[in-house]
Assembly symmetry: C2
């Protein structure tokens, strides 16, 4: 059961973006597993991809195509990652682009392929080709929710957020969908996300907005530290509203709103994380550098002992403290460290806080949403990451995914 | 159930070492939880301790005392780690040393304290003081097995190995015991190990032997990547055999044998790892550097997705490949990488091996002991680490340890 994650209700259409999802029978017998996103001519598109050295064929092809031109079509299949599939996998990815290109009457380089699912099995491009006519015929501006559902793998529910935003020269829409529930960690791990706006914006601005928003959202979530071969996050701006960021106030408002949509999507991945029973924010403050803050936050977020204690609702601050201690920070003075569970100080100057009672800790650990704040007391930098606990359900899901 | 771990049978006495274990009621009501090891005057002792910045009070005291003189007594309690206990914890550790010193008629600096168990609760030194007369009166050379049992925490069985070794000028004994089943990883994580020999050896030689043996054994095992605040590994040489390492052949034979005892103890921690159902060797070969080989080996060994696949006996080479891909090796050419399950090539040149069949992989994954070999194809260096799978039992143990 996801933690504090409502089902998407109204996902606003974005003028210039049409979508469709069909059941192509790629892996799942009775559900939609193939999505096409059509982007109006003249749109700008920004993308970031996994940094895993073993990136999948569709990632390689998408990167190449994106360098050549602004894409017109994004083709996404769930159920098969087309990763670890060698030369044949590259051919399959190229062939799927060509099929879309021929059916839609554009060049193949204007099609970007995305795949998510099991690694190391050949992608059934015949099934994709067979499904293309229906896929293209059904393209509609209103199909965001259907697309959100069709890109799911181990997700238990679709993820999408949408907002309308009034700027000084008019209003714009921002709508985004995402999938992913495990293998999620910084540097773009197992997740796909597609965000669109009808804002009119230059390519350089769009790239900058995208990078900034990803850094503050998808690169700050982790379920298990594993990263994927396939992940991608795309931002599309169609310009169809005719509204531009004409002053600093507009720019600030749009950036904040965009980041908020990205963060809701990123946190949705965690709220629906594999086997999740807790949604946990690990916040590190007063670090010397951002990198140091992130190292501590991720060491705590990835500690199986901290995660199993969270699952057990056990206020076991000793495990948090031990994880902080092994995070590799040079010259760490443990006597400066305070740790809080929400607003309760549990560790003071490196030891159990005098004022702390087990009952206070228990009351917080029994909640579904928990914030662990670690004050290193050695600088001014801070960062937060969002993560899950480690439950029996996580083991069950990951021990049974393929079989 | 431990994997391939026999119960210790004959643990040879080491002349100059006497031990005893009693039930002091520190945490466990009905079992021995306090051990004293007496080391004959004139012995040499080498020690290594956790590198976790949050090291426990007994570690701080043991380090200080070991710098001042060769210890005569090692006092070990299980059930309470005396970690995260601040100034009071330091006082308790010092007081326990003083109590032993007074009862045994030596200086307090000749006593080293060791604790393992729950973090952040005050150590009951009254209970230790009450138990001391019985503890000292019962010291015997034959008590190694009782000591191995009394230092256990979540271990399911005691761990000890022993060997008699013929050198050119006589024979010596090596006997060692260890505890630890989780929080085990390099740099001395939650484990305690005590190894003794009656060899006559200089302090410098002993330190060198100890460091070399630890590097090849305890620093190459990992259950969950978590490290402890309390770990220590001590090597004692009493000299009572009168046998020295008088030539290169003797030195070589003794070193190899000592490393073998350390490796058996280290692997015993993994074979009895929390919730273990598989004993797994991750071997990385043809790396550019030892550090690079270790980075890849540990990234794979710590991957929850690899570990849950091992639990499921699922030959999911895609997860191994994805973990290798995120291990942070600069300029990794995935086209050079081969991966083997035992002797079956599963990944060839970065993709699924042509010759590989799922049945071959399944046959190996169904075994209790599995070797994953990763050939990076970019150098001459190699290393191995030993680890476990990630099972439901692991979650159960760690979600219920305190409650």
């Amino acid at each position: 059961m996801p933690v504090g994650l409502p089902l998407p209700t109204e996902l606003l259409p974005v003028e210039g973006i049409r979508l469709n999802a069909v059941a192509a029978g790629i892996r799942y017998p009775d559900r939609k597993d193939l999505v096409l996103i059509e982007i109006a001519d003249g749109s700008k598109v920004a993308g970031v991809f996994t940094r895993n050295a073993f990136c999948a064929a569709p990632v390689i092809v998408s990167r190449q195509h994106l360098l050549q031109a602004a894409p017109r079509y994004l083709l996404i299949n769930s159920g098969n990652a087309n990763a670890g599939t060698g030369t044949q996998g590259m051919q399959m990815a190229e062939r799927s682009c060509l099929a879309v290109a021929q059916a839609a009457g554009v060049e193949a380089k204007l099609v970007l392929p995305f795949s998510t699912g099991v690694i190391g099995e050949p992608l059934n491009v015949d099934a994709i080709e067979d499904a293309l006519p229906d896929l293209i015929n059904g393209l509609e501006e209103e199909n965001w929710l259907a697309a959100a559902q069709a890109i799911m793998t181990t997700d238990t529910q679709p993820k999408g957020f949408s907002t309308a935003l009034s700027l000084s020269t008019g209003s714009v829409h921002i709508t985004g969908i995402a999938k992913g529930a495990g293998m999620i960690r910084p540097d773009m791990a197992t997740m796909l996300a597609y965000i669109a706006t009808d804002l009119e914006v230059d390519q350089g601005d769009l790239d900058h907005l995208h990078t900034e928003a990803v850094a503050a959202s998808f690169n700050r979530v982790t379920v298990d530290g594993d990263t994927s071969t396939n992940d991608a996050c795309m931002l599309m701006a169609t310009g169809k509203s005719g509204v531009r960021l004409s002053n600093q106030a507009d720019r600030h408002l749009f950036t904040e709103t965009l980041i908020s949509v990205y963060q809701k999507l990123a946190q949705a991945l965690i709220r629906d994380g594999e086997g999740v029973t807790k949604f946990v924010e690990i916040s590190v403050v007063n670090a010397q550098t951002q990198a140091e803050a992130a190292d501590v936050a991720y060491t705590v977020a990835h500690s199986p002992l901290v995660k199993t204690a969270l699952f057990a609702s056990d206020p076991n601050w000793g495990r948090i403290l031990a994880a902080v201690g092994r995070s590799g920070i040079a010259d760490m003075d443990v006597g400066l460290i305070n740790i809080y569970l929400d607003d309760v100080c549990i560790v003071e100057k490196g030891g159990r806080a005098q004022s702390y009672t087990e009952e206070q800790g228990q009351e917080i650990m029994d909640r579904e949403e928990i914030r662990i704040q670690i004050d290193l007391g050695r600088g001014q930098e801070a960062t937060s990451v969002w993560t899950t606990d480690l439950s029996h359900e996580y083991v069950t899901i990951n021990a049974e995914y393929r079989t």
